[in-house]
Amino acid sequence: MKLDPGRPLRSVVIAGSGLEAWLAAAVLALRLDGRRVDITVCPVSGSQDWDGLYTALPAWPGDLFRDLGYSDLKLATLADASFSLGTRVSGPGLEAVIKPHGPVGINVGGVAFHHYWRRVSTRLTPDDYFRYSPGTEALRRSALAPPVPANALGPLQHEMVRHVDPWALQKHLRHQAYAMDVREARGPLAEVQRADDGRIAGLTTTRGEKLSADLFVDCTGPNRRLCSEASAWEAAPLSRAAWLWAEHEHRDAAPLPWSSLSGTEAGWKAVFPRGTEEVTLHLAGDRTTGEASGTPAGEAPGNPRGNAVPYHIGHTPTPWEGNCVALGSAAASVLPLDGLPARLLMNMVQRLVALLPGRDCHPAETLEFNQLSAEDAREANHLGTLYEAWRQGHAPREAAIDGTLPEPLALRVRLFARRGWLSPRDSQLVPEDCWRAAFILLGVIPDHHDRLADRIERDQVEENLLALKHKVRQIARTFPAHDEYFAAMQATIREARP
């Protein structure tokens, strides 16, 4: 709060109707107390069409859903959540490989596991590497168990991603926000009024309601309805303006305990298990040339929440300008890999809460927000560019030399290819595990291991790896079959439902 006289920040208007808007509203209301800061959500037609991006919610320290009280059971009850322990990835030159979520192997003496694996393994394939994760071994047996201390192997704990119905979750977040005094404007957004200096003077809804605020939050998706037209957008290298859409298919059997990601000629296809459905998220076609290859025909192709919507991987370097801050896909569009859209959104919401000014927006806060958010977005999009290059048929090793990849990313690839080195970065958005798994998955097997791994005798390393593989299998055998787990979860949900 401001000590000296001055008008404190008292009102926030969030524009958007999707999960981004209601998550921001609920978190702001929880953290700031709705009685002191008035929070209003102004619906924006169609802004929920990008919610499919939030089908995968990774469990990580910055998980806001846990803060808001959403346990796995609650997500399953309210948002039809299913769970996965890994992703089945396929694409050019790659037969399907199961990549587990989270860490693989155990680091020893400050040296990452993959160096020991590189040193002694006789099968330097992604498939072999990933088998040092209980998640992979469980998936090979179609088994699933949530990560708990009892099924950890020392520091090696598998991870589980929640796959939810984002539209159902959005509805619940809305109820939760209402309960914390968040108000919803009458009617959707019609017009944005700007002052001479480019700041937002107010919003008008179709019903004529005028909304003014100290701070406006743009959660309108890539349409960025509140951001100024001058606001820059940096397209990620190799990306193109594509279409995003979702399809739903009913499954008679229990969902699979993994998601899948396929790189095809047309684009990307991600399949997520969810309740009794499979949800397929497509990112394909070429919007700039009008090419609709791979895009659905008709107006509403199996997606009850909307048509294919435009999506161009990239980010704005200035998500916070004046009195308007863009969150989620209005600030950065990233490939739906490893739960990155959700990580990015949650990071931005948390950052906004931490930086929310006590009074009128100040350059110091906007600068900090923009720097950190842009770093996160670049980090996510570098990972995306690596996958995109691979999908387009560029082997990462070669792409890192022939100029296909931007230099900072190319250097990272070259360093991993040579010696398994992962460049330290300030942004913590993409965990090292994700980078390591991506490199190995896409065929970047280091030429050399870290020499510090030689401090342990080769025989000892071989013995350790053999023992670890055995323990990983043993622990995975204690996981229940996924069908049983799912049935038990459904039974609990039925009991819990009123």
């Binding site: 700031l32 107390d33 931490a354 930086l355 110091a364 300030d426 020499r451």
Partner: protein, 496 residues
Amino acid sequence: MVIIGGGTAGWMTAAALSSTLSRAHIDVHLVESEAIGIVGVGEATLPHLRHFNRIIGIDEAEFMAATRATFKLGIEFVDWGRIGDAYLHPFGAFGIERNGVGFHHLWRKFQHEPATGPIGDYSLPVVAARDARFDIPSEDPRSVASTYGYAYQFDATRYAPFLRAHAEQRSARRTEGRVTAVERDPESGDILAVRLDNDLRIEGDLFVDCSGFRGLLIEEALETGYEEWTDWLPCDRAIAMQCEGVGPLLPYTRASADRAGWRWRIPLQHRVGNGHVFSSAFMDEDQARDRLLATLEGPALTEPRTLRFTTGKRRRMWNHNCVAVGLAGGFLEPLESTSIYLVQAAITNLVELLPPDRQYAAERAEYNRILDNEFLRVRDFLILHYHATTRDDSPFWNHVRTMAIPDSLAEKIEGFRHAGRVAEYHQGLFLEASWLAVYLGQGIVPQAWDQRLENVDEDTLREELRNLRQQVQAAARAMPDHEAFLNNHCARGKAA
């Protein structure tokens, strides 16, 4: 691998390489001349050195006995924000974060209430240091006694010989001689060999230049270039001398601002290290020497010795097949005891990025990126000490108070002044607690605190503050006297 120079940087490099890498992979060869003295910078260190010593297999008690070391809980800054002020930059946290809100916001909210007290009252290393107490931190993360780290104050002239013995036991070779010529490959420009005054020729794949300010290989042979930062850090001289210690053995270093720079005081087991860092543009050497002599607490043990330096760093720390470590790579005044840390950062990254073959352009680019970042972030932190002041008692302070500062620092200061926000980064040396110590210690007080505290009942928050302060005081009282602890600890080292 050929290391040129056998001072602290040279023997730290040799010890690290020979201790962590297999002899089958690397031959460590150090060249030094006994005729060349060592600068012996960095008597005061940061907690990172403990990690370095542990990694290379050094026993702490043995090391402390050999180098006559004392424990260090932080650095006291006297007369920086204004004359008469003093604060301690501790190796540990201030208070405990509250539901994602930094403790300093809570302290700021109640700062003006008499019961709140200074923020240092909520930091165990600050309270313990004031009472000259010390103990090894607890390993229980729930205990307030786990909220700090510690470093050492030691005799740097004894550290290099100690490391030499360690490195030579682990296969590092030493050759006596002074480098007289450097042979370079006419095509690639890489260094092929060095020639010594005793006619020896030493070849290597990779050379580490630890030759000090001169930069025998990195500058004299390779002409790498130097990036000067004297516009922001104008001190360019240091006079060092030793005296007898008087009074209790303090577990912290002191940096007292002076009219044209600052003076250090580093208490060791057997003496006190003293120095005066100053700008020759604002004070001549005689005056600086007189100032130092006048402030010695006990009888002088050595004659004053002057060092000249230019603050900055090499344009490339790794150029061709030569890596500059220590003073050869750059110099930042030891205001925050960073000299040995920067040596350590250079060595650690070199060990981790040591190339497996001669195609190491990628490793070199990455190494330079990381080291540049380290130096830049330390640089900004040091500038803050000079710039964040109200002192107007001398032309020097008027200059540093009003000088233009790098944008990267100006943005950080503004973010803190406006809303108590400490710039967030994960790479680099000084993190939130360090910035907080200097901001608040030198009078940059946030105009606002985190709004999230407004959701909580004020009496509840006051109670939390009171409880925490009591816990810190109690934990400090439970610690033994620093000198007693040290004697007991070093007795074990001597026995070993």
